[in-house]
Every structure is written in structure tokens, then in C-alpha cells.
């Protein structure tokens, strides 16, 4: 098993999290945004597993399991909503959405 400093693992998770966040902020395609959110969730999962490994507890891995569950449920509903959005508008551009102060 590895013996790297814990902060390296966390740093790596933070980098993934930041990349995912960048994707959410920068992409206009909803599909990419959803993908970026998955990256963020995955990063949080890494942090949990690392934390669990640090304390030699199973709790971190279990939290990852729950994150996995949530990601599955969310992607299912999310993709369904995105498909509907595409059917309505013919685009995946989030900036094309109306609303705000119309």
C-alpha cells in the first residue's frame, strides 16, 4: 500500500474538483455540464476514500458508495430532463434558456 502524504491525495482531489467546476462554469452544453458535475462528485468521493484510508475506517468507502448511488439517480433524472429540454428547443445550450427577467 502507498505511503504518500495525505495532502497529496487531497490536492489531487481538489484539482479534479476544480477542473469539474471549471467545466460547469465554462461549458454551455448541458451535457458537458452534467459530465463536469460527475467529475466534481467523483473528486469528493476520492476525498472521502482518502479520509477513510487515513483513519483506517470503512466509513469513507461507504460514503463513496452513497455518492455513487446519488450520481446514478441524478444522472438518470438529469438526462431525462435534458432530453426533454432538447425536444422542446432543439438545442443543448444553457444560455439559450429563457427566464430571468423576461
Amino acid at each position: 500500500m502507498i505511503t504518500v502524504p495525505i495532502e497529496h491525495v487531497i490536492l489531487m482531489a481538489a484539482i479534479l474538483f476544480s477542473l469539474g467546476l471549471t467545466g460547469v462554469l465554462a461549458r454551455r452544453n448541458v451535457l458537458f455540464i452534467l459530465l463536469s458535475i460527475e467529475v466534481m462528485l467523483n473528486a469528493a468521493g476520492i476525498a472521502f476514500v482518502a479520509a477513510g484510508a487515513r483513519w483506517a475506517q470503512a466509513d469513507g468507502q461507504i460514503m463513496f458508495l452513497f455518492i455513487l448511488t446519488m450520481a446514478a439517480a441524478e444522472v438518470a433524472v438529469g438526462l431525462a430532463i435534458i432530453l426533454q429540454y432538447y425536444r422542446h428547443t432543439g438545442t443543448l445550450d444553457v444560455d439559450a434558456m429563457g427566464g430571468g427577467r423576461r
Binding site: 505511503t3 497529496h8 479534479l16 454551455r28 458537458f32 459530465l35 477513510g52 470503512a58 461507504i62 439517480a73
Partner: protein, 180 residues
């Protein structure tokens, strides 16, 4: 082993960077799978083999396949890539990157003030995880089933296709309900 970690981490970070910057959705998805595999590797070397397997099976296997299905249904072609190219001018990256860079700088500052290392040792296999999961986390498992139920019902209701005409499409844009 530590080298494996650093290599996997580098692969994960690079492929994730590719995910968020690709123009073609399928390419991005493939990079995402690479990234997930690399992360699975990291889990493995951190002493979480069970989670590593799940990362491959569920995340890379199931959830990503959902994305593939969605993309097939959307049937995005070359013009989609062109559109993405228009949307993703270098300038459009400036704002998000700056914002996230600041957040990341804060993370570095925080992490740099943290000590401790991984204990090494044998890690925790499926058995320990299973015992904890069906022991003190039993309520959590039940709640996770409810979460999946919500996802299932939600996806079923929203995703159902309905026959519609162009006129109704216009009406729906205006937010007017369609009376049968």
C-alpha cells in the same frame, strides 16, 4: 507503489482536463472513462479494492453508458462540434478559470497547513465494508434505495416521450398548457 499513485493521478488529471475541454461529446466521454479508470487505480493502491471495482463497474460501466445512450438519442453530429467551437472561444474560459484558480489557491493554502499521511497497511477489503454497510449504515442503505426510487420515478415521468406537433411546441414555449 507510490509511483503508481502519482502516475495514476497525473493520468486522471490530464484526462479530466481533456473531458472538460473536448468539443466532441463522445471524445469527452471516452476521456472521462480513462479518468475514472485512473481513479480506480488510485483507490486500489489506497487500499480500497472494493471501491476500485465499483468505480469501474458502476461509474465507468453503468453511469457513463447512460450518457452514451443520451448522446445516441440526441444524435449530435459534426455541426454540434462546430457549435461547441463557437461557444468555446478562449475568452470564455478566462472568467471560469480565474474564479476556480482563486478557489484552488485557497485549497492549496488549506491543504499545505495539514499534516498526516496514509497509514499504509492492508487497507479495508469488501468484508469490512460490507460489515459496516449492513451494520451501522443499514438505515443508510434503505435510504439509498429510496433515493434510487426517486431517480427511477423521476426519470420515468420526465423521460417519457409524448407525441406533439409543431404548433404545440410553440404553445409550450409560451408556457401555455395543452388541453387534450
Amino acid at each position: 507503489m507510490n509511483t503508481v499513485f502519482y502516475i495514476s493521478a497525473a493520468v486522471a488529471i490530464l484526462s479530466t482536463a481533456m473531458v472538460i475541454s473536448r468539443l466532441n461529446a463522445i471524445h469527452a466521454l471516452l476521456y472521462m472513462i480513462v479518468s475514472l479508470l485512473a481513479v480506480a487505480m488510485i483507490f486500489f493502491v489506497m487500499g480500497a479494492p472494493f471501491i476500485a471495482a465499483l468505480e469501474v463497474i458502476v461509474y465507468a460501466g453503468a453511469i457513463m453508458v447512460l450518457f452514451v445512450f443520451a448522446m445516441m438519442m440526441l444524435n449530435l453530429g459534426q455541426e454540434a462540434v462546430e457549435r461547441e467551437r463557437n461557444w468555446l472561444s478562449p475568452a470564455s474560459w478566462a472568467g471560469p478559470v480565474t474564479l476556480v484558480a482563486v478557489l484552488f489557491a485557497e485549497f492549496i493554502w488549506i491543504v499545505s497547513r495539514t499534516g498526516g499521511s496514509l497509514p499504509g497497511g492492508g487497507g479495508l477489503g469488501p468484508k469490512q465494508v460490507g460489515i459496516a454497510l449492513l451494520g451501522q449504515y443499514l438505515v443508510g442503505v434503505e435510504l439509498a434505495s429510496m433515493l434510487l426510487l426517486a431517480g427511477l420515478v423521476g426519470a420515468y415521468h420526465i423521460g417519457r416521450r409524448m407525441p406533439r406537433t409543431g404548433e404545440e411546441n410553440e404553445a409550450s414555449r409560451a408556457g401555455i398548457s395543452i388541453k387534450q
